[in-house]
């Protein structure tokens, strides 16, 4: 039913909603802003428009109308929640998010969509201007600059997350938390669930090998 833009994959609506839900849960439980998924968002929006159009044409009083209406509401909720979650993280970590995007090497996927990037830049400029006009410009000359990158807290990548393993992984290196411990490796079996530090498995979330729960 829906094409995934100009890319190779063609997802069924059910698979599309599945990937939306996966992206939503990952974003919800990850301490940092994850890669942006413009293809999923675009397809979901298209899907919602498609469903709305279908509903308008349907016969009134048809039982299916209610069910489809509920489905639309649910999908819209997940999409909104996902985008809201991202906005909250962008606003919370704005200097770090912008810095990460600026220093991103060519070819590496972006964590911000172009619209999110514009929003983040505006947010930063807005806040900087405000702080400068209200406080900083009244301060002695050598205190007038403040590094937002240093003042705004960074996301805590050491926070623990629950995950389910989707693809078997071997030899994941777990770094020691305290000086007494030493690093060790673990294997992740497919279908198993773990509680682990986010930093250790961050690349696995990005590749889709694990799902945060």
């Amino acid at each position: 039913d829906s094409d995934a833009g100009s890319e190779e994959l063609v997802l069924t609506p059910a698979e599309l909603i599945r990937s939306l839900e996966q992206a939503w849960l990952n974003e919800k439980f990850a301490p940092e802003l994850l890669e942006s998924k413009p293809e999923i968002i675009e397809c979901v929006v298209e899907q919602l428009d498609h469903m709305e159009a279908n509903l308008k044409r349907a016969k009134k009083g048809d039982l299916k109308v209610s069910v489809h209406r509920m489905e639309i509401e649910r999908i819209r909720y997940v999409l909104s929640s996902y985008l809201r979650c991202r906005l909250v993280k962008i606003e919370k970590f704005f200097p770090h998010v912008l810095e990460k995007e600026k220093s991103r090497p060519e070819g590496e996927p972006s964590i911000l969509s172009p619209e999110e990037f514009a929003f983040a830049k505006e947010y930063m400029a807005n806040t900087e201007t405000y702080l400068k006009n209200v406080a900083l410009k009244h301060m002695p000359p050598n205190l007038q600059k403040v590094s937002l990158l240093k003042s705004v807290p960074k996301p805590n990548l050491d926070s623990f997350v629950f995950l389910r393993v989707l693809e078997r992984q071997e030899n994941i290196l777990v770094e020691p938390e305290t000086d007494e411990q030493r690093e060790y490796t673990i294997d992740l079996e497919e279908g198993s669930q773990h509680l682990i530090r986010y930093k250790t498995i961050a690349p696995l979330v990005a590749s889709g090998a694990v799902q945060l729960i």
Binding site: M70, E122, T127, P140
Partner: protein, 154 residues
């Protein structure tokens, strides 16, 4: 300025002033940090107001905001509106709606003010008079609930 005067004296040779200068500088930095923390925290609360109340803030709240804060708020809501319009097809997606997962299709609402006529999907119009109760589709009511015209009865 006191610190600066001492700094120039210190450079000129009075090394016993160094500690005083450093101490004052630490105080100044701490004051700067406190001021910025206070102002930033206020901004975060103002930001939360946009998500709770919508684009137009009640007068009582606006009264407590400085002119610069009002300006920050206006720029923030404009930035947010631009972003929301850019996603979700032609009209954009209002992210301040659908805050909770939908539980049911129809909800019971009570009218808090006289609103007048209100049309729902199947063409029928409902007269929203103060204190009248209706059983209406959820997605139609969300806007009016946030404006304070309708009240969701649980």
């Amino acid at each position: 300025e006191r610190n600066q005067a001492d700094v120039s004296e210190a450079k000129a040779g009075r090394t016993d002033l160094i500690f005083l200068i450093r101490f004052r500088h630490c105080c100044l930095l701490r004051n700067q940090r406190c001021i910025l923390a206070y102002l930033y925290d206020r901004l975060l609360r103002i930001r939360a107001l946009r998500w709770e109340y919508g684009s137009v803030l009640p007068n009582t709240i606006q009264f407590h905001m400085s002119a610069e804060e009002v300006e920050w708020f206006n720029r923030y809501k404009k930035s947010l509106a631009t972003y929301m319009r850019s996603i979700g097809g032609e009209e954009g997606l209002d992210l301040t709606q659908d805050i909770k997962p939908p539980k049911s299709l129809y909800i019971e609402v009570r009218c808090l003010k006289d609103y007048g006529e209100f049309e729902i999907d199947d063409g029928t119009t409902i007269l929203l008079k103060k204190n009248s109760q209706h059983f209406l589709p959820r997605w139609k009511c969300e806007q009016l609930i946030r404006q304070g015209v309708l009240e969701h009865i649980l």
